[in-house]
Each structure stands twice: as structure tokens, then as C-alpha cells.
């Protein structure tokens, strides 16, 4: 039983190590910027290409923290006062994905529009 316990703990640790080391980096990731000022996101609409992972840099110019939150994008990240946060979204199918500031959901709202890129 001691062996089984050891094996079980090893599997758990392996899971984390694999997750951390199995980093897959996109060769070129497009970057988009969002600024939070007076509890309002600017721009409130961000258009990104479909089926591509992109980087979103959120700058909080307010004096208090805000949590960037999106159920549609499966993302939530606290952005501290006067700081930036980088998050990655996608690849996503075309559509509209809402996001909001968890701490000021009435004013801090926006939408990510995912569009098919025509070559």
C-alpha cells in the first residue's frame, strides 16, 4: 500500500510538472490592447482573427484593482491599479464573446468579435 501511495503522489506531481514544462508557444502571436479608465474598457470592442491564439494586454489606469472576467472566453484575471496584465485567448470559432470588469460590471463591459480572416 505504501508503494501505491507513493505512485499516486508521483502521478499528481507528474501532472503538474508536465503541465508546467509542456509549454507550447505560438511562433507569432498577435497582440491587442485594452485600457481600463474610470471603470470603462477602451476600446469596448476588439476584433480578433478566428482560429488563432492572440495576446491581450490589459492596462488598468484606475486607482483600484479590477478583475477582467469573461465566461464566454473562460478567462479571469485581476489587474492591479496602474498595472498591466497579459492574457492569451483563442483559438476561437467566429462569434461574439462578452467580457466585463467583475468589480464594476455596470460600466466596465466589452466584447471580443472573432472574425474569419479572408486572405
Amino acid at each position: 500500500m505504501a508503494n501505491q501511495l507513493k505512485q499516486f503522489h508521483l502521478v499528481g506531481i507528474l501532472f503538474v510538472v508536465l503541465s508546467l514544462t509542456n509549454a507550447v508557444k505560438a511562433a507569432e502571436t498577435k497582440t491587442y490592447h485594452l485600457v481600463l479608465e474610470n471603470h470603462v474598457f477602451f476600446p469596448s470592442e476588439v476584433t480578433i482573427p478566428a482560429n488563432q491564439k492572440v495576446k491581450l494586454i490589459i492596462t488598468n489606469k484606475d486607482a483600484s484593482p479590477e478583475e477582467f472576467d469573461s465566461f464566454d472566453l473562460n478567462r479571469e484575471r485581476v489587474v492591479f491599479a496602474g498595472k498591466q496584465a497579459k492574457i492569451f485567448i483563442g483559438p476561437l470559432p467566429p462569434g461574439k464573446y462578452e467580457f466585463f470588469g467583475e468589480f464594476h460590471p455596470e460600466s466596465a463591459r466589452g466584447i471580443v468579435i472573432v472574425k474569419e480572416v479572408t486572405q
Partner: protein, 264 residues
């Protein structure tokens, strides 16, 4: 303001109330004493306060990936502690079992309570509408306590009807639901790639709805899961089942008897 506070409280605190419902139903807490409770509570409060005041520092570390990495490690340790205690309950010395459980509880409380405290701190700092926040807090806590009592009753009834295996399956789904948050957290900061969502169940249950929050806290529900998410979920869940089966076989007991803590 009130509804937002209720939603944030449900998202952050409901898993803790569900955890307590399981722990008080499946019998692992039967051998715990007041000293253990006091020490665990003290450790949890200390840990939450320390984590809260260093939240920004943690978040900014590892090139802005600190929070995702640290929270993933916390969730992983929580999973290991809770799974060890429930699967190897008959084999581990009771002192070892008690402290493993304490570590698991402290870890989850630290993560969830700190996330709520950040929200609460912002409003204490800047909002004049303290009454709304307090009302929202009271409503949210009342919902959590009511849900906890109902769920505990449901689990106790299952155990009374000899459905201990079902209770353990639900418990495994709960702790699996916590560990599968790891891939999402890591993909958010580009440490792993999750790929595209496999399907979308938003038409039935949206993540943002009350049902979505409850299902997420109970089972780790996601309305648009990716292949990695489903793979991680199934692997963790079946790993727990397989190890439980092996542990029961080793003890020479049917699995239901093994879980109910009966000796051969």
C-alpha cells in the same frame, strides 16, 4: 451591486461550503478534535491574510504568470491531500490523515477566500454603498449555508441508503472539478495550449447562470470544454476510481465496505 456580490460570493465561497458538506458526511472528520479544528482555522486565516497582502507580488512574479502558477500548485496539492485522505483512509495513520486533510482545507480556503477578499477590499476602499455590499454578502452567505445544509442532507440520505459508492463518485467529481481548473489557468498565460472548444452547452446551461455556478462548484462544469479539459477531467476521475479499487482489493474488501470504513 447586491446581485454582483452574491454572484462573486457564490463563485468563490460555494466550493468551500460543498467541501465541508462532503467532509462532514463521508466520515473522515469523525476522528477530528477541537485542537485540530482550532489549528486548521488559525492556519487558514493566517494563510488567507498572508496571501491577500502578497497577492500583487505573487501575481507579478514569473513575468506576470505568478498567480496562475501558484494557484495551479495549490489546486494540485489540494487534490493530492483530499484524494489521499479519502482513498487511503484505512491505511494511513490517523495523525497523518488529519494533517493531510488540514493542509487540503487550508489550501482551498486560501485560494477561494483570497479571491473574494480582493473583491471585498476594492469596495471597502472606494464604495460608499456599504449597505448594499453587506446585504449582498448576507444573501450570498445565506444561499451558501442553505445549499450546504441541503447537500449535506442529500449526502447523508445517500449514505443511509447504502449508496456510499455514489457519494464517493460525487466527491471524486468535486475534487476533479477543482484540479481541472489548472489547464485553463495555465493556458490563460500561455504555459499550455488547450486548443479549440469541442462543443458548446451554453444554450442549456450558461457558465454565468446560477445553475452554471452551482454545477461548476459541484462538478467543475464548463459550458464549452476543450479536448484537454475533457481529457484531464476523465484521467483524474478514473485515476481516483482505479486507485480506490486497487486499495479496496488490497484491503480485501468490496469497495462500498472499504469506503464505509468497515474492517475485514
Amino acid at each position: 451591486m447586491i446581485s454582483n456580490t452574491v454572484v462573486v460570493l457564490l463563485r468563490d465561497m460555494l466550493p468551500l461550503f460543498i467541501l465541508i458538506a462532503y467532509l462532514s458526511s463521508i466520515g473522515v472528520m469523525q476522528s477530528l478534535d477541537k485542537k485540530w479544528l482550532k489549528l486548521t482555522l488559525f492556519a487558514a486565516v493566517t494563510s488567507v491574510v498572508a496571501f491577500y497582502f502578497n497577492f500583487e507580488l505573487i501575481a507579478e512574479s514569473f513575468e506576470g504568470r505568478g498567480y496562475e502558477i501558484v494557484s495551479s500548485l495549490i489546486l494540485c496539492l489540494f487534490f493530492i491531500c483530499c484524494a489521499s485522505v479519502s482513498i487511503f483512509s484505512g491505511m494511513l495513520p490517523s495523525t497523518y490523515q488529519k494533517w493531510l486533510l488540514a493542509v487540503g482545507i487550508v489550501l482551498l480556503v486560501t485560494l477561494k477566500a483570497t479571491e473574494f477578499m480582493v473583491y471585498f477590499g476594492v469596495f471597502i476602499q472606494q464604495s460608499g454603498d456599504l449597505i448594499s455590499i453587506c446585504l449582498g454578502f448576507l444573501m450570498g452567505i445565506s444561499i451558501c449555508i442553505s445549499f450546504h445544509l441541503l447537500y449535506r442532507f442529500f449526502l447523508t440520505e445517500l449514505i443511509a441508503h447504502n449508496k456510499i459508492k455514489t457519494v464517493y463518485m460525487l466527491w471524486f467529481a468535486f475534487i476533479t472539478g477543482q484540479i481541472v481548473q489548472i489547464p485553463e489557468r495555465l493556458s490563460q498565460v500561455d504555459i499550455i495550449d488547450l486548443g479549440k472548444p469541442l462543443f458548446n452547452l451554453s444554450e442549456f446551461v450558461r457558465d454565468s447562470s446560477e445553475y452554471g455556478h452551482v454545477l461548476n462548484a459541484l462538478l467543475g462544469y464548463e459550458s464549452s470544454p476543450t479536448t484537454t479539459f475533457i481529457g484531464a477531467y476523465l484521467c483524474s476521475f478514473f485515476l481516483l476510481l482505479v486507485i480506490s479499487g486497487a486499495a479496496a482489493r488490497n484491503a480485501g474488501l468490496p469497495i462500498s465496505q472499504y469506503f464505509s470504513g468497515e474492517s475485514k
